[in-house]
Amino acid sequence: MYGRLTVIAATAIALTGCSQDSSRDYMKIVGSSTVYPFSTAVAEAMVNTNPALKTPVIESTGTGGGMKLFCGGVGVQHPDVEDASRRMTPNEFAACTQNGVNGIMEIQVGMDGVALAESKKGPKLELTRADIYKALAANPMGKPQTAKFWSDVNPSLPHTPIQVFGPPSTSGTRDALAELILAKGCKEVDPQAAKLEETDKDAFKERCQRIREDGAYVDKGENDNIIVQNLTVSPNAVGIFGYSYLEENRDRLNGVPINGVAATYENIADRSYPGARPLFIYVKKQHLNAVPGMKQFLNQYSQMWGPDGPLVAKGMIAAPADVRANSEKIIEQGITITADTLKDDELH
């Protein structure tokens, strides 16, 4: 009896004591749930053409959550690639540099749109950026939020309650909503806010980008299918998610046009749709030669991201030809970013 107990105890101690191997023969990728389906498809195609490689492990943590892990440091326990549905912020870049992550390659893999959608049975809303800002901001124009119905925001809109299902604050889709739609809508209706942006960034964010927390905006987590399901049962609600979910569910959902532009492939590709945004992957150059498969992964991405490529079939929108050429150059020459690159806020 004692012998058996000792064996169990020894196993337990051995299990807790064993630590990580000093090398890793598969890639680790973290980040955006929007880029996740594309990165998994690329990873799979890479292994099919190079069966000697192990499939990368891809975790969908949201862009913000992934950045924290990615910038945690250099070494086997830290991820090699970050999927991002927005650009890295200067703060995140600083955190990376502080933890010894020098040399990050920024590769734009494609485009996506922040789509607003409603059920087919919905009231057929047509919104402007200003309407969305007034309906969703916590403090529109510096005053507390009081709008309960869309008609409170803009008399020409129907008298239906404002009910919006959207992503949580760790999500890049939420950041894109704040930057592309709320901040721009805010500057359109509130001249003071534009001045605030130059003098006090925090006050500007508070006034223009903070989303109301009184229950009209419901955070549905990173699971976009749940938003789709909720929309089909509540016809008056509006959902916010990546374009690919709208495309896949066109038979159940209608897109809500913003500023009169519908969320379609063409409108996002030529950036006339206000919610169009770039999708990136960030790559640690320090890991490029240490982890097997990283170069193949990047090359596989560039083979698949064209307008006729398999990623478009999965719901991505191809980036314009000049952007794709630039991304290929970054992969080929291993060009890294500096703090200055990130200051340029324009989509490219």
């Binding site: 009896m1 107990l5 169990i8 105890a9 196993t11 337990a12 299990l15 807790t16 064993c18 630590s19 990580q20 191997d21 598969y26 680790k28 749930s33 996740y36 389906p37 998994t40 498809a41 990873a43 799979e44 292994v47 099919n48 053409t49 190079n50 069966p51 000697a52 192990k54 499939t55 990368p56 492990v57 891809i58 975790e59 969908s60 326990q77 990173e222 699971n223 976009d224 299918n225 749940i226 690919s244 979910y245 896949e248 038979d251 398999p310 999965k314 719901g315």
Partner: protein
């Protein structure tokens, strides 16, 4: 008087009826769950295949039969452009839309067929390959109208066949619903449960034995008892954060590994095991201990020869309930990175792995609609696993139960 008696009987009947209604309601929910799962999920265990004629000699694949028996067969076939050969065969057989009819991964199916029978290289053959999700949607009565027309034409010729999908039980996650499998997650669950059991069972039972048989009753043991009861009620996500801080940040164990998942879940179910074991030990009549001590047994002999064997059914029931809870747990595992896309089953405890409930969660978030059936099928696998565990618990309990 009569009236009051009648009222009393009526109250009795009402109470009995309410109890019955409660049972019927819960049974109804259970039946609803099972019926929807089974009706959605059974389709997830099968897949539609289409017979694809391929003329291998005409394709001039640059591989020899000998190469196909070597380890480098996969590489050789990928290098020889097998995927293009399969695409061309599909276009030749089914017309312009051919490539859209077969699954993107159809060529890997052809690859396996070639590897198992290299003589195929020298003749024409019909190989059953999985159909694409578009065709599957069309067969289910949805999808694009153009595809529906093509599919109904092919259906009339009897080109499709519906087969039990062994791949679902033997492969791991994939991006294509026609190719996914549950084995990776099932193996991850098995590894995780193994670690949990190895850690939580001995530590939990030992603590229970000490607290019941040795510990003096004072303020300290009261405090420990209250803490254990509190720990049993702590939300599981908090154990996830604990696991993240202790095992990943402090001990530097690998992220996404079933080892870390098992350790975290062991922390979570340990209080449950301690409480159940203490109650079981408490229920052993003191007369048995006194009798054993009376004939000269030592304390350790009393515990191992008399108390534990009698308490074992209760301890096992508690352990299995705890394990069942751990098996269905998702939240703490999300914190330690077990929610990743992992396309190969784990080989060891430190390999990246995922578990059944997390796999279900991941598939429920997939864009492609083919995952709905697969999600239900995965739920059925999880329920079967759970039933097997509970059946084992009942068997063990009946086997060790002693009545006096």
């Amino acid at each position: 008087m009569q009236k009051r008696i009648r009222r009393r009987y009526a109250a009795e009947r009402r109470f009995k009826f309410m109890g019955l209604a409660a049972v019927v309601l819960s049974a109804g929910f259970l039946a609803f769950l099972l019926v929807t799962m089974l009706s959605n999920g059974l389709a997830g265990f099968s897949r539609t295949e289409v017979a694809l004629p391929i003329d291998f000699p005409a394709a001039k694949l640059d591989v020899t039969a000998k190469q196909l028996q070597n380890r480098g067969a996969d590489l050789a076939l990928a290098g020889a452009g097998l995927d293009e050969v399969v695409d061309k065969a599909a276009t030749a057989a089914f017309g312009e839309q051919g490539i859209d009819i077969i699954s993107d991964r159809a060529w890997t199916e052809v690859r396996e067929a070639l590897k198992s029978d290299p003589t195929l290289l020298s003749r024409k053959a019909r190989i059953d390959v999985p159909v694409s999700q578009d065709v599957q949607n069309a067969l289910d009565g949805g999808g694009k109208p153009a595809m529906r027309a093509i599919v109904s034409g092919m259906q009339a010729k009897g080109l499709f066949s519906n087969k039990f999908d062994f791949g679902f039980l033997t492969s791991a996650d994939s991006t294509d619903p026609t190719n996914v499998g549950i084995w990776g997650a099932l193996k991850g669950s098995l590894f995780t449960m193994l670690v949990t059991l190895l850690i939580a069972f001995p530590i939990g039972v030992l603590s229970a034995v000490y607290l019941e048989e040795y510990a003096p009753r004072n303020r300290w043991t009261d405090l420990i008892e209250v803490s254990i009861n509190n720990l049993a009620a702590v939300p599981s996500i908090i154990f996830g954060l604990l696991g993240l801080a202790v095992f990943l940040s402090f001990l530097n164990l690998p992220r996404s590994a079933s080892l870390v998942g098992g350790l975290t879940l062991a922390l979570m179910i340990m209080p449950v095991i301690v409480i159940a074991s203490r109650n079981a030990i408490k229920a052993v009549p003191p007369s048995i201990r006194d009798a054993a001590l009376g004939v000269g047994a030592s304390k350790v002999q009393v515990i191992f020869h008399h108390v534990l064997p009698l308490a074992l059914p209760g301890i096992l029931t508690g352990t299995i309930i705890g394990m069942a809870r751990a098996l269905g747990e998702t939240a703490p595992l999300l914190m330690i990175g077990m929610r990743a896309f992992i396309a190969q089953p784990p080989e060891g405890l430190t390999d990246p792995a995922t578990v059944l409930p997390v796999q279900i969660f991941l598939w429920s978030d997939q864009v492609s609609r083919g995952f709905v059936e697969r999600t239900s099928a995965a739920i059925i696998v999880l329920l079967v696993f759970l039933l097997a565990m509970n059946a084992l618990a009942i068997y063990l309990r009946n086997r060790f139960e002693t009545r006096w």
